[in-house]
């Protein structure tokens, strides 16, 4: 293939199109609650998700991955940019207009302890979305029991309370609740990071099965590249609100371009003492800087081991390296001369054009189009 910005390999429009989305949070101070600064939680992210695919969204705490996830399901309103779901711009819809859409997109939350109401029975927790969307009462019970079975619990659990379940089982209840209305898109925000490894793998397998059975589309948010590898078709790496790398899953593991991705990969522990001693571990110094005043130039430069002067001053544009692999770096890794010569800057820094030309016109021409994506 090798065509840059190939897009329509899955044929048809993406299920979800995120265009130049910015989500800022105001910081207010003083008696008059004047706005003194902004947290740039998500800063100009453009990506799309095809139906039936799983996009892994990876980054450290504070990189904006959860905010992006919440913006996509419209739990938050984007400050700028558009979220297009099934061809419809939902970024400015009001609560009432959003309600029918909630059927289509659901969320699974990170903390299985905090995301279930301790005073409600399981039946009512999973049944609430059905009730809100006007499913018949007699049908509700049956549907909930079906759902319990789908996620590997037993229908007898209907009348139990959340505290009677272990962490892994609670997370299954959270998944059942998300599935209640037959959604198309599920945004799973760190669904396994609170679980033991043995239970983690059960959960990952379950999500995998459900996707095949119910033809779901996932956005899978995690901080651990080891976990997302297993479920993702493509992976987006975020750092401080920016999308810094986007690539087909396996390629990212074999050929990370952005040094940040390289560091994230090397941080994943390997359960093999000899290998783990041998390999060179890149330990990132310090924490993610504040998104209130992000560093100049490349936002990763203060922690990057390849940093040079240009990184401090110029923000690297998101560049397409072919095969749907995008990265934003002045010193790309694992890229040979040829690819580098062919690499083209994606034009996503001109929002007006990007909006207009969001759909690729001539995807096979070998040129980057405004939103280069691979299916």
């Amino acid at each position: 293939m090798g065509s840059f910005g190939m897009n329509q390999s899955n044929g048809g429009d993406p299920l979800l199109d995120v265009r130049n989305v910015k989500t800022y949070f105001p910081i207010r101070k003083g008696l008059l609650q004047r706005e003194v600064a902004q947290v740039h939680a998500v800063d100009d992210v453009t990506l799309s998700v095809q139906e039936g695919e799983t996009l892994g969204l990876v980054g450290e705490s504070g990189c904006g991955k959860s905010t992006l996830g919440r913006t996509i399901v419209r739990l938050l309103e984007p400050t700028e940019g558009n979220v297009i779901f099934e061809g419809r711009d939902i970024s400015k819809l009001g609560t009432r207009a959003l309600r029918p859409l909630r059927r289509q997109m659901q969320m699974v939350f990170q903390d299985p302890y905090a995301s279930l109401n301790p005073r409600k029975r399981v039946g009512s927790i999973i049944g609430t979305p059905l009730k809100i969307h006007g499913v018949d009462k007699s049908e509700q019970r049956q549907r909930v029991q079906e759902l319990l079975e789908t996620v590997g619990l037993s229908p007898e659990h209907y009348n139990r309370f959340p505290h009677e379940f272990s962490g892994g089982q609670r997370q299954r209840i959270g998944v059942a609740r998300a599935l209640a209305l037959h959604p198309k898109l599920i945004v799973a925000d760190e669904p396994v990071s609170a679980l033991d490894v043995s239970i983690q793998s059960q959960m990952l397998n379950l999500l995998d099965d459900l996707q095949k059975e119910l033809s779901l589309t996932y956005i899978f948010i995690a901080h651990d590249l080891g976990v997302v590898r297993h479920v993702s078709n493509r992976i987006a790496v975020m750092y401080l609100g920016k999308l810094v790398e986007l690539s087909p899953a396996e390629e990212l593991y074999q050929r990370p371009i952005m040094p940040y991705t390289e560091a994230l990969l090397s941080a994943v522990p390997i359960p093999d003492p000899d290998l783990s001693h041998e390999r060179e571990r890149i330990v990132l110094q310090g924490d993610v800087p504040s998104p209130i005043n992000p560093p100049s130039g490349c936002r990763f430069h203060p922690r990057c081991r390849y940093m040079t002067d240009i990184c401090r001053e110029v923000e690297p544009p998101l560049t397409s390296y072919g095969n749907g692999h995008l990265a934003a770096c002045h010193h790309p890794l694992n890229v040979d001369k040829e690819t580098l010569a062919r690499a083209t800057v994606s034009e996503r820094y001109t929002p007006a054009e990007a909006d207009e030309g969001a759909k690729p016109k001539t995807p096979a021409k070998g040129e980057a189009h405004p939103i280069p994506e691979s299916g």
Partner: protein
């Protein structure tokens, strides 16, 4: 031979509850010498945290019963009174807790919380204690420690809070450092930093470390010896390399197989251990892992003793399968072919 610091013999900890007696720890033995890192691995509810807390006398209560011995430099911790215990706790043995968000007191500055231990145990005055607190924060890698020392926990990020916890645990140069899931609440990048830090500090302070975790990947790099716990018992115990390259207990295989591995090609399905850990009130008869074990057979109705069954001395396990059978069966689990 390095100095023997801790010796645990036949430790049992039971809690009386309304529902019955919880046998949280049910016969655990191990030793720890200076300079050594011991990993204790198991799922939630396997008794690893209770074991660690008992070493510091933190599980004492009207409803708790102990059996066996916990010897610290030859003295039995279980028999100490509160005063003696206070001398040891935080001074000679200290603990890093799992959740840095809840284990720091939100209404005291980080510095004050570190100083407290120094002032109590070393009877240092305020300014000396403060200077030491700043030093410690520098040592654990907190930038601008001079000003950060007066910050409150909410002004620290998760990784920094965990560092502050470590600084606090190190305040009195303890001989034994017990880290209970020190990285579970953290990002992988920060996890790598913390593990490296613990490893470095162990050498600097010439102490011994007990590292408790549910993730075998975390201990692969730094542990010398590993104990795998299940339902309050030790089910396998070996030197780190032996445990990873010649694991004998099907439960250990399951733990190893569950980890998504970046060093290998992607598997179709991840191996997982079916079911959940058993109740500690009514635990299964025979081998405790039997109900979840894919290889269980008749003999498993009787509980296997913790014994050395392989060529390597000191490598103990609790499984009736013959060594040859195990070596054959485990390949499928470890390579991920057999996915439950």
């Amino acid at each position: 031979m390095a100095e023997r610091l801790i010796e645990v013999k036949g430790l049992k900890v039971q809690f009386a509850t309304e529902d019955g007696i919880v046998r949280a720890v049910d016969g655990v033995d191990f030793e720890l010498s200076r300079g050594q890192v011991l990993g204790i691995v198991g799922e939630s509810g396997s008794g690893k945290s209770v074991t660690a807390m008992t070493l510091l006398g933190l599980t004492r209560d009207r409803n708790t019963r102990f059996e066996g011995e916990v010897l610290y430099k030859g003295r039995n911790v279980l028999g100490m009174n509160e005063g003696e215990l206070q001398e040891v706790r935080g001074n000679e043995m200290s603990m890093i807790f799992q959740d840095p968000m809840t284990s720091l007191n939100p209404v005291y500055s980080v510095g004050a919380q570190i100083c407290e231990a120094i002032q109590i145990h070393e009877r240092a005055d305020k300014s000396t204690a403060r200077r030491r607190a700043v030093d410690l924060l520098k040592q654990v890698g907190i930038p601008n420690a001079d000003s950060r020392v007066d910050n409150y926990p909410h002004e620290f990020s998760g990784g920094m809070r965990q560092r502050a916890m470590i600084a606090m645990a190190l305040a009195c140069n303890p001989d034994v450092l017990i880290a209970d899931e020190p990285t579970t609440a953290l990002d992988v990048t920060i996890q790598a930093q913390i593990i490296e830090l613990i490893d470095r500090l162990k050498d600097e302070f010439n102490s011994a470390v007990i590292l408790i975790t549910h993730d075998l990947g975390v201990v692969a790099e730094i542990a010398d010896e590993i104990i795998v716990m299940y339902a309050g018992r030790v089910v396998e115990r070996a030197q780190t390399r032996d445990l990873f390259y010649d694991p004998q207990m099907p439960y250990t295989w399951g733990l190893l197989g569950s980890i998504p591995r970046l060093d290998r090609p992607k598997q179709e399905r991840l191996h997982s251990i079916k079911g959940t850990p058993p109740s500690l009130i009514r635990s299964p008869t025979g081998c405790k892992f039997r109900p979840r074990c894919p290889h269980a057979f008749d003999k498993c109705m009787e509980e296997p003793p913790l014994e050395n069954r392989v060529e390597t001395p000191g490598h103990l396990d609790r499984c009736w399968l013959s060594v040859a059978e195990k070596r054959q069966l485990r390949e499928r689990t470890l390579s991920g072919e057999e996915a439950a």
